[in-house]
Structure formats: structure tokens, C-alpha cells
Amino acid sequence: MVGTPVLFIAIPLLAAFLIPLLGMIWKELVRIVPGLVLTYLLILAVNLLVHVLAHGPVVEVIAGWVPPIGINLVFSVFSGFLVTLMIFLGLLVWAYSYRFKRNVDYEPALKYFLMLMMLITGSVGIVLTGDIFNMFVFIEITSISGYGLTAFYKGRDSAEASFKYVLLGSVASTFLLLAIMIIYSQLGTLNMADIANKIHLMNPTLKIVSYIFFVTALGIEAEIFPLNGWAPDAYAEAPGPVGAAFAGIVVKASVYAIIRYTFTIFDLSGAFNFLIIIGMITLIVAETAAIRQEKLKRMLAYSSIGQMGLVLVAFGFGTEEGVFAALFLMLNHAIIKSLLFFSGSYLVYNSKCKYIKEVNGMSKFLPVTSLLFALGAFAIVGLPPFAGFWSKLSVMTAAADSNMILIMVLVLMVSVVELVYYLRVVNRIYFFKKETAIEPKKPTFNALVVMIVLGVIILAIGFYPDVVTGVLHKASASLMDKSQYIHHVLSLRQ
């Protein structure tokens, strides 16, 4: 027995409802239990992933009703890989934020860890679910946790950031529901595989309109360019680990959703080029906006947005190579950007405004953190022999094989921009004199361990990419094989 996908949702929910009660027994439990849950889920995810790699996707039905009647969860190699990645990152975020701020009261701590756990659960749900309305519910779970976490700190402008997020999030859910209802009114089903099976019967205009609404709604969460106004603010104002969770978990889930719609559910041929266009615009605008930022976390946020644009571009090639490259990018981005957020948070820990110039000369006070930040910066701009290089190489190879010369030129030009602003920050950390009187804060032990683990992973992937490429190849093959997905879901019998 390797466990089933539904436990990824049920266990955290049960724990979420239990935690307030447990907190009444011993206050420390509210911090510990989410970690235990995430550890359990990680073990489960790895087990399942190994099982799925050997035996093909696991489809789980809920409430005993087979698809398309009931809701189902699909743990294929593709979704399983993402789930494992997300839970792993979630565990790291939890470990990092354990005692991130020492003086946080019991109540906020309870709420913080609850919302963090639900943020992860919601994202996992988005990836696992096989039902478009269920996905909407999980998106809302993720969003509301996101709103709460963004506004977690008092005294800053976090409420403002969170309000923008709420505003755009509501618009997103409006469009999402409009799109879902168009699909439902035509096909009479909400199951993804069933829809994918029948989508060719739909009136093309309705199909296109609903696809547009889907992309708009999910694009708001996935930070596509004109829709991502909330993202820099939310990243910058949320607690440091939450920024990492946004970049590494939430956005991944939303991108997954867009990809699932584009690759599996809809059969629009123009959708791939559309992804390339919006991804390219996102990449260019975000990376160029990042270079002029004055605040560290805002810069990281824009960089993260840009990377997601690149992921969309890579998916937009529509080839298996492109998917592989995109997945590799997602993996690297999740790991590296988390490291950058983690170490960056400590570099500007006690500063009020988190200006980039406040990292000047921090290497003397926080040598390990600075080194890891530099490692992350080198890795994310794709310098060999760090992890980012291999994903960049695979993106380029995929682009060349799709004959997208212009895309390659643009992506590489943007990479130069990215290089410049990351190097500027690293130079500041190492070679500038400290200007402000802000006291640097030493990272806590668990935070240090988390950062070092991430650094080691970056080096490991960089020096030996084969540790992940095997899984990634299988995952991309599993995404490309649409009929297999439909078959696996719909062949279940009562």
C-alpha cells in the first residue's frame, strides 16, 4: 500500500481543523504539527511518485462515484512530480519559518502556520484535481491563504498589497466561473478528462471565449504580464518565507492549471502561440522592470514573474522537449528562487524598507547567507555549473528545434538584463561598505540548515543533472500523452 492521492488533501485539512484544539493543549504544537503533516505528505508523495513511475498514473475517485460523475484526483508522473516538488518546498518553508520571528505571539503563529499549510494544500489540490470546478475551489483556498499571509505583518503596507491581491483575485474568480459555466452549459460535465474527450464537439467561438476566460483567471494567479499587478507588492510585503512559497508553490500550481487547460482539455491550435506571446511579454516586462528596483524583495518578485513567463514560453513550444525544458525551469526556479528569498530575507532582516542598498557589505556579518545568496544568483542567471544552466540549455535547445530564432534572441537578451541586476546585488553584498546602522540578524539554525540544503541541491543538479532529468522526461511525456490521460480517468468502472 503506497497511499492514495486523497490523503494529500484530507490529512492537512483534518490537521488544520485539529490544530486550534491542539494549541489549547500545548502552544508549541501549532508550530510542530504542520511540519509533521508536511513530512508525512512528503514521504507519501515520494512513495507515490516511485509507484507511479513504475506502474502508471493513479486515479482516485471521491465519494465512490467514478468520473465523470464524481470528482477525481489524478496522480500522474507530471502532476506527481509537481506535487512532490511543492510539498518538499513547503516543508522547507515550514522549517525555515519555524521561529522566523522569535517574538510572534501564539495567535498569529497559529494562524500563520495554518494558512501556510492550507496554501500548500490548496496548491497541491490544484495540481491533483481532475475537475474544473474543484480546481476553482482549491484556487480559492490558495488565494485566501495568500491574502491572509500577505497581510500577516502589521505596520507595513502589507494590507495594501493584500488588498490589491484580493481585488485581482476576485476578478479572477469571476472569470473562472464564467468560463466554467460556458463549458458546463455545453458539455454537461465538469470532469477534465470528460471535457477533453468531448471538447471537439463544442462551438469554436464558445470554446475560444471560455479558454480566454480561463487563461485570464489563471493568469492572474500565474502572474502573466498585464494581470500581475498584485504580485510584486505581495511578494515584497509578505513575510520572507511566504514570498518563497508564492514563487515556488502557488505560481507553479497556477501555471500547471494553465498548462492542463492548454495541453489536455482544450484542443486549440493557436493556444500554444498565445502562450508564447504572453510568456514573452511577461518575461520582457518583468525582467526589465526588475533592473530598476530599489527594494530587494520587489526585485526578486519581478525576477520570479519573468521566470514564469519563460516557463510559459517553453510550454508554448508545444513539443515534448519544450515541456521538459519548462519543467526543468520550474524545478530550478522553485529551488533557486526559494533560496534567494530565504537568504535575501536575512540580508535585509531588520531593515524597515528592505532597500537593496541595505545589503551593502553584509558578507562580513552573514558569510554563509551571503554565499548562498550569491550561489542562488549565479544559478538563476544560468551560469554553469549550477542548476540554472541546464534548464536554460534545454529551453534553448527546445527553441532551436521549434525554429524560434526570434524567441531565442529575446530570451537571451533578457537574460543579460537579469544577469546585470543580480550581479549588482551580489557585488553590493561583497564589495560595498556598510552604510546603514541596521543590525544584521544571524539566521536561526533551522533556517541555515534549510538554506544549505537548497544550496546543496543547486550544486547537485548543476554537477549531475541526471538526478532529475529522468523524472522530468517521464513527466513531460505524461503531459504530452493526452489520450492516455483521458483513458486512465474514464476507463474506471464502478
Partner: protein, 615 residues
């Protein structure tokens, strides 16, 4: 596991060990550092031969390393100069901060250069190319001076070049389905014309940046002068040769194969010539030895580029021979500068003078390398330059000859400035305490100086490997005695030597010089700089009357119009323009949530309006 694997492992492990052993003991760190450069060098020359290939499979791509005669030639430069610079660095870095950081990047640079030379496939070529870039970048910003400008400029140029190369590599992979260099070369004649032109251009962009070719050279003076001198000697001496290495490969295996190649070669040769002229002019203007040598490096690389781009056998021979010589003499000169910096704390000609009696061995090394640089027989530089002129004239590039000749003559001016500014001239009291640099720094310089002399007299030592290297590349098909095409060389038994007649001329000249010096010594009187009066005015104490102040004013005035337009300024203009554009883009995010909502609606409406085109 092949020897090449072991070599790379020693480099890598050595770099890490060196870095961390600094926490335990400084001496241990030095030992580790030396070992991790010298041991692989020994292993390479002792055990690695042509034909053996080492492979490593990473991420579904097979990386293949092996050595041929051509890369062996450049390995000689890298490892030879690298070992010398490593020994020198022990002395140079003594007592400096961030020692581990410097050593780490030094070793990685050597490793990366070796990796580039040994790469048979394009991916490992690119990987090592990038490692070389960032490790040299990290050393460039070592002293933290103006790094946001100098360091970033270097990295941006390198990155643009490297990304162009990456594009070429993946396009080649798309066309041939393989990352092997040989399959690219074999497929090249079958490509479409535009690809036949674009792929070499993209490669040359990368190589041109590293070789400081004309419009791409602006990073070089700053980066060369900013890095610690122990590193600059390999930076300018060996690292820039990686650009030359790549250029030769591209020129020989690709551009020579197509009829349009002629124009390619002309353009590159001219760019090389212009680089040489510009570099020389700017070098004369400098008051800082580091800057002077940096510009001089740019100029010398210009000669080399011209030589290899001419395309005749003699030109190629001249270019490669000059490349080896440049590594020797420019490496030595940077070491000399480093020694002076170490002992006096400055490298400004206007401050340091009269060190000849304080640092005699350094002076001898400087003298020999200056002679080599200026191309005066019997040192190696002469042979190279002679062959270059000869090849240019025989291939009817008369205008180019004039340019090269002009810059090489003008180069005497800065050579003189370097020699006179530091070593000759009056002794200042300020430098009375200066001592000779430690032996660990002097010995490498002297070894290299002797090498220059040996190579000048027996150029065959290098010419023969060049010949077989070019044969491996397919530039010459059988063992031709390339040197026979030059009138300056003579075959003497098994050796290739300089024409003996030259030695007679030199001998008479040297005798005459010694005679004059001897005569001069008798009447020499040592006075301070201030011991002069001009038009009855006695100079004040704070007046700087060092020889090199205002050096060559009339000449500089004459060439001023040519130097007014700095390419640097154009690049800065582009960068500033881009930054303001980016600032404008940033303003899209107005900070008002309602505006963002409007963006969403605008997005939806636009997509809806164009839905028939998009889908």
C-alpha cells in the same frame, strides 16, 4: 576514468580545498594552491596524449574531452603561463585579504581554460567558457574598485558573446542533431547560406569579446587593470588566447570553406588592425602601468587577430607565434607591474621612478619583455612581427601593413615610457627603502624572460607544434615546413633559427651600446629630480617633475582627433537609454489596484477582439 577526468577532479577539488584550507593555515593554503595548479600541469604533459578521449554523460548529453595538437599548443600557453603565474601569485598575494577567494577563482580559471581546450563537444566548450567568464569576472572585481561599472561591463560583454555562441550551438544541434564540434564542421558546407554566415558570426562574437576585438574591446582595459596583477598575467596572456583559439577554429574550419569567407577574413583582419592602432594610441596616453599594459594587450591581440585572419599560411603562423610570445612577454610585464605594485604600493609612472638599482632582476625581466614586445631582435617578438609583415605584404594588404606598422612603431613610445618611467630616471627619496621583490616572484619572471630569448633564437620550438596543430585542424594537409616561407628563418640542422646575419648586426649594436654605457657611467652623477632649473625657475617641492608627466604631449595632440570618439561612450549611451526605458516600463505598475483591474479587463478585451487571429 581517464587522466583528463583526474585532472579536472584535481582542479575542482584543489580549488575547494584551497579555499577552505585558508581557515586553517595560510601556508597550507599556498601549498594546496600550488599543488592544484602544478600537479595537473605535470599530469597533462606527462600522460595526456592525442587520441585518448574522456567522456562524461550529463543530463542526456555526452561531454567528450580529448586533446589534439592544436589544443596542445594552447594548453602549453595556459599551463605554462598558469604555473608561472601561480608561483608568482604566492608571493604577490602574501598578506592580502580574500586570498582564498583569489586562489579559488585562479584555479577555476585555469581549469576552465583547459576545459575549453580539451572540449570536443560544444556543450562542454560552452560550460567551460562560462566558468571561465565568471571566475575571471570574480577576480576582476577582487579589489572592489568601481565594480558596478567595470565588472558588470566585462560580464555583460562576455555574456552577450557567450549567449550568441549558445544560440549558434543549439542551432547547430537542431541542424545536425549532435553537439559534436566535428559534426558541426562536417555539416557546415551543407548549411543554407544564411546559416553559413550567421553561425560563424555568432561564434566570432563570443571569441571576439574574449580576444578584445575592436568594437567589443571596451571592457578589456578596465578589467585587465582592475584584476590583481598575478591574475592579469594569465587574464591577458592566456585567457584572451581562448578567443584566438576559437577564432582560429572558426576561421579555418568554417569560413575558409565558403567563397564569402574572403570578405569575412578581410573584415576581421581590418578590425584587428584598427584594434591594434586604437589600443596603441590609448596605451601611450596612460599614466598608470596597469592601464598602459591593458591597452597594450588590446593592441597586441589586434596583431594576432590580423595575423590569423589574413588566411595565408604565413599569417596564421605569425598570429599563433605572436600569441605564444604575447603570453610570455605580457605575462611577464604584468608580473613586473605587480612586483612594483607590491613593493611600492603604486603603479603610476608619475610617482614611481628610478627603481633600476632597487629592483635589478625585475628590471632585467622588464627589459627583455619590452624588447620582445617592441619586436626587436633577437627576442621572440621580432620573429612574430616580421612574419606578420611578410604575410601582409605577400598577400597584398598594403594599407593594413601601414596601419600595423604605424601602431607597432607607436608602441615604442609606450614601451619606452614603461621602461623609463619605472626603472630609469632620477631616484626619488620616497622609494629609497624599496627592495627587490621576493624570489618567488622574481624567478617566474626571469624564467619567462629566458624563454623569450630562447624562442627568439630557436623559434622552431614553437613553430613545429604550431605546424602540427594546424595540420590537425586541416589548415595544411601534410607536414609542410611552414617556416620555410619566411625569409627571416633559417633551418639549422634539426632546429629552426633566426637568420645568423641578424646576430652580427645585433652583436655590433650591443657592443656599441655597452661601450657607450661604460663611457656614460664614468661621468654619471646621481641627483634628485628637483635638481634642475629651467629658465631660471627653481621647481617647488610639490611639483611633479617625473619623466613621464606630460609624456609625448605633441604626439598626443596630433592624434587627439582620432581619439575623441570613444566607443565606450556609445555603449554608455545605449546603456543609459535602456535604463531609462526600463524605468519607464517599471512605471506600468502604478501602485493603484484599480489600474491593475483595468489592465485585466484590457487584456481580456484585447484578446477577445483578436481571438479570431490568435486562435
Amino acid at each position: 576514468m581517464e587522466m583528463i577526468h583526474i585532472i579536472f577532479l584535481i582542479f575542482l577539488g584543489g580549488a575547494v580545498l584551497t579555499y577552505f584550507s585558508g581557515k586553517i593555515s595560510k601556508v597550507l593554503q599556498d601549498i594546496f594552491f600550488l599543488a592544484s595548479v602544478l600537479v595537473p600541469a605535470y599530469l597533462f604533459f606527462a600522460y595526456v596524449g592525442a587520441g585518448r578521449e574522456a567522456t562524461l554523460s550529463l543530463g542526456g548529453i555526452t561531454l567528450i574531452w580529448g586533446v589534439n595538437h592544436f589544443s596542445w599548443l594552447f594548453s602549453l600557453i595556459v599551463l605554462g603561463l598558469g604555473s608561472m603565474a601561480a608561483i608568482y601569485a604566492i608571493g604577490y598575494m602574501k598578506g592580502k585579504k580574500r586570498k582564498g577567494y583569489f586562489y579559488f577563482n585562479f584555479i577555476l580559471s585555469i581549469m576552465a581554460m583547459m576545459g575549453i581546450l580539451l572540449s570536443i563537444d560544444l556543450i562542454s566548450f560552452f560550460i567551460f567558457w562560462e566558468i571561465m567568464t565568471w571566475s575571471s569576472y570574480l577576480v576582476t572585481i577582487y579589489n572592489g574598485h568601481d565594480i558596478q561599472r567595470i565588472g558588470i561591463k566585462y560580464f555583460v560583454f562576455s555574456a552577450i558573446g557567450a549567449y550568441a555562441m549558445l544560440m549558434a550551438i543549439v542551432i547547430v544541434h537542431h541542424l545536425t542533431g549532435s553537439f559534436l564540434m566535428s559534426s558541426m564542421i562536417n555539416f557546415y558546407p551543407n548549411m543554407s547560406l544564411s546559416m553559413q554566415i550567421w553561425i560563424p558570426v555568432m561564434f566570432l562574437l563570443a571569441f571576439g569579446v574574449k580576444a578584445a576585438m575592436m568594437p567589443l574591446h571596451v571592457w578589456a582595459p578596465d578589467a585587465y587593470s582592475n584584476a590583481p596583477m598575478a591574475y592579469t598575467s594569465i587574464f591577458s596572456g592566456a585567457l584572451s588566447k581562448m578567443g584566438i583559439y576559437g577564432m582560429v577554429i572558426v576561421l579555418v574550419t568554417m569560413i575558409n570553406q565558403i567563397p564569402q569567407g574572403f570578405w569575412f577574413r578581410e573584415v576581421i583582419a581590418w578590425l584587428g588592425g584598427i584594434t591594434a592602432a586604437i589600443g596603441t594610441l590609448w596605451a601611450i596616453k596612460q599614466d598608470d602601468a596597469k592601464k598602459l599594459l591593458a591597452y597594450s594587450s588590446v593592441a597586441q591581440l589586434g596583431y594576432i587577430i590580423t595575423g590569423i585572419a589574413i588566411g595565408t599560411e604565413l599569417g596564421m603562423l605569425a598570429g599563433l607565434f605572436l600569441a605564444v610570445m604575447h603570453a610570455l612577454f605580457k605575462g611577464t610585464l604584468f608580473m613586473v607591474t605587480g612586483a612594483i605594485e607590491k613593493q611600492t604600493g603604486t603603479t603610476n609612472f608619475n610617482e614611481v621612478t628610478g627603481l633600476i638599482r632597487k629592483m635589478p632582476w625585475t628590471f632585467i625581466a622588464a627589459l627583455l619583455s619590452i624588447i620582445a614586445l617592441a619586436g626587436i631582435p633577437p627576442l621572440g617578438g621580432f620573429v612574430g612581427k616580421w612574419m606578420l609583415y611578410e604575410s601582409l605584404i605577400t598577400s597584398n594588404h598594403y594599407l593594413l601593413v601601414i596601419v600595423i606598422f604605424f601602431s607597432s612603431t607607436a608602441a615604442f613610445l609606450y614601451c619606452y615610457k614603461f621602461l623609463f618611467g619605472f626603472f630609469l630616471g632620477q631616484e626619488e627619496k620616497e622609494w629609497a627603502h624599496v627592495k627587490e621583490a621576493p624570489a618567488v616572484m622574481v624567478v617566474p619572471m626571469l624564467i619567462m624572460a629566458v624563454m623569450m630569448f630562447v624562442l627568439g633564437t630557436f623559434p622552431g620550438i614553437i613553430l613545429k607544434p604550431i605546424n602540427s596543430g594546424l595540420m590537425d585542424l586541416g589548415f595544411v594537409d601534410s607536414f609542410k615546413h611552414l617556416w620555410e616561407s619566411s625569409v627571416i628563418l633559417n633551418v639549422w640542422g634539426n632546429h629552426v633559427v633566426l637568420q645568423p646575419i641578424l646576430y652580427w648586426i645585433i652583436g655590433i649594436f650591443v657592443f656599441f651600446m655597452i661601450f657607450l654605457t661604460w663611457k656614460g657611467f664614468k661621468t654619471t652623477r646621481y641627483v634628485s629630480t628637483k635638481d634642475i632649473s629651467s629658465s631660471g625657475e627653481v621647481p617647488a617641492d610639490d611639483e611633479n617633475l617625473t619623466f613621464s608627466v606630460g609624456f609625448m604631449q605633441p604626439f598626443m595632440r596630433a592624434v587627439a582627433p582620432a581619439m575623441r570618439r570613444q566607443i565606450d561612450k556609445y555603449y554608455n549611451g545605449i546603456a543609459d537609454g535602456l535604463e531609462s526605458l526600463f524605468e519607464f516600463i517599471r512605471r506600468i505598475y502604478t501602485g493603484n489596484g484599480q489600474t491593475y483591474t483595468i489592465y485585466v479587463i484590457v487584456f481580456v478585451v484585447i484578446v477577445l477582439l483578436f481571438k479570431n487571429i490568435l486562435f
